[in-house]
Symmetry: C2
Subunit: 106 residues, 2 copies
DNA sequence: CCGTTAGTTCGATTATATTCGAACTAACGG
DNA sequence: CCGTTAGTTCGAATATAATCGAACTAACGG
């Protein structure tokens, strides 16, 4: 049951975080995770091929936005809210709030 | 003295804003503008060729982050803080605060 | 009207991301 | 041990973005 590497909170870069969230699909994933955690990848696929979805999750992981824990056959994803809050206070919350009001897609 | 088109506050997209700020150079420009407004492009060039700088300013303009007013021979840039605050409350402030603490570059 | 200054636009090059199918892997269920 | 499920990795195709020089433009100063 091998696990993933996740960057340390102190190593997270703001530009990577913003970049990761600048993709509408990835932002949606983060939004859905914020609403319901933890979740496997499958229900977040939104009709895309698995390889694309896997790529986007990998971007989110590398940016430090999500943690993926392998639990049996599924990969459980959750937001690294604590780490993000300590490294970039208020940033994720403000972005999620804005994404929540400003039309689902943008 | 032709001026630029700037998108309306209501048309701004969160993903474009995050994308624009995900480039370290552009984030720096925004940070410097936040510290001192308005400013022409020249002092923000940071050694890059003018065409590159112009490109980055154009991205910031299209994302709605900055307004550029042509004043004589110089182009004066300022942050659209009001518009951004009304459309995406707290987002810019949180990002600027995080950029301020988290090492100048990221 | 000529030169200068400030910045844009164009076009080409290179770098980086996204996309997707196909083959793969790891864990579980029977 | 075989099939299934969940997701990754690979590789190639395509799309998007960054970079920079060169030519351009608009406004001012003299």
């Amino acid at each position: 049951m091998k696990q993933y590497d996740h960057p340390l909170a102190q190593d997270l870069q703001l530009s990577c975080l913003l970049y990761a969230l600048s993709d509408p699909f990835r932002l949606e994933v983060v939004r859905k995770l914020a609403a319901c955690q933890p979740q496997p990848c499958a229900p977040l696929q939104d009709g895309r091929p698995k390889s694309s979805v896997s790529h986007h999750f990998s971007v989110l992981r590398k940016a430090g936005l999500i943690r993926t824990d392998v639990v049996g056959v599924t990969h459980m994803n959750s937001l690294r809210e604590q780490d993000l809050q300590s490294r970039f206070p208020g940033v994720l919350a403000a972005i999620l709030a804005a994404a929540g009001t400003a039309g689902t897609q943008a």
